[in-house]
Symmetry: C2
Subunit: 196 residues, 2 copies
Amino acid sequence: MNAIEDLARLLKKLPGMGEKSALRLSYHLIKTDPSFNKALGEKISTLQDRIHPCPICGSYTEDDICQVCADQNRDRSLLCIVEQPQDVVTISQAGVYNGLFHVLGGAINPLEGIGPDSISIAPLMKRIEEGAFKEIIIATNPTEEGDTTALYIRNMLKNHGEITLTRLASGLPIGGDLGYADKTTLIRSMRGRIRL
Amino acid sequence: MNAIEDLARLLKKLPGMGEKSALRLSYHLIKTDPSFNKALGEKISTLQDRIHPCPICGSYTEDDICQVCADQNRDRSLLCIVEQPQDVVTISQAGVYNGLFHVLGGAINPLEGIGPDSISIAPLMKRIEEGAFKEIIIATNPTEEGDTTALYIRNMLKNHGEITLTRLASGLPIGGDLGYADKTTLIRSMRGRIRL
């Protein structure tokens, strides 16, 4: 049974995967179409060879520059700041936003030793200095860390009175995670965004 | 974002994996140690090249014959019949059984068109005719399908009075709470009550 247990041992390290689920999934994979397993295995193996962070916004891309940053039809006076690359996808899929993004790569969390220098704040400031943004939407998660990060960014930008700073409206459940927000909630909180 | 979405599309086909969890897992995999992804991908891709059913019992093995069937220290007068290969692992890990196994590969389910010919009943009968079993434990699941299968096997063996046929006891799980037991389990454990 070694190949099954080998696989289960690796699967168990994935988030949300317990010992029983890992074994169950391994047995499931034995019965699937072999071409599916070949494809899935290849995608996992080569994922990081194909994907890297966009040098401008920090979101993931397979190209030199990500599709959003390269898109000349986007409103370049709008910047939306998010914690994670997947938040870019979540907001894009809601179809309510047509500006640029900036991915921080996390949120300020003093308890875990994550300060402003641990996330992409300096590149953000450089972008803002060099850009022509009229509005910056801070879309960090509605958590203590996300709020702290939003306030920190607001303080850093206090000499930029010409830029309107906004934060996604409540409507997102407090303590929740942006990745699990449903589309309608997201659209509402985008439309009802408030000035910080 | 194509590599991520490609991967998520495949992951979504796994049991218990929704659209959001698949995407979340894909993003998680981007951040893991690349050597982990290479190892996991390789294990998934090659799983079915390494694993095949044991020609005797139907459990999975990487060898000609599985470890249980090849083990000469096992009690060859005992046969435990299970539905799936993983049931062999579950029972083995409990450490309470030292006989042989037979994997049916499913249970009789007329509603889904699974009859006795769809599962490994004929090879089981051949094994019993050729073997010297004193007791056969039918460990199919305590479900309607598992019970139907157990009854079918009992009927097939009615001319083998020399073999003791048993079925795993059903009842309340140890450590469980009576308040959380479902009605069917409760009825079964009441009917199967034992003298103290």
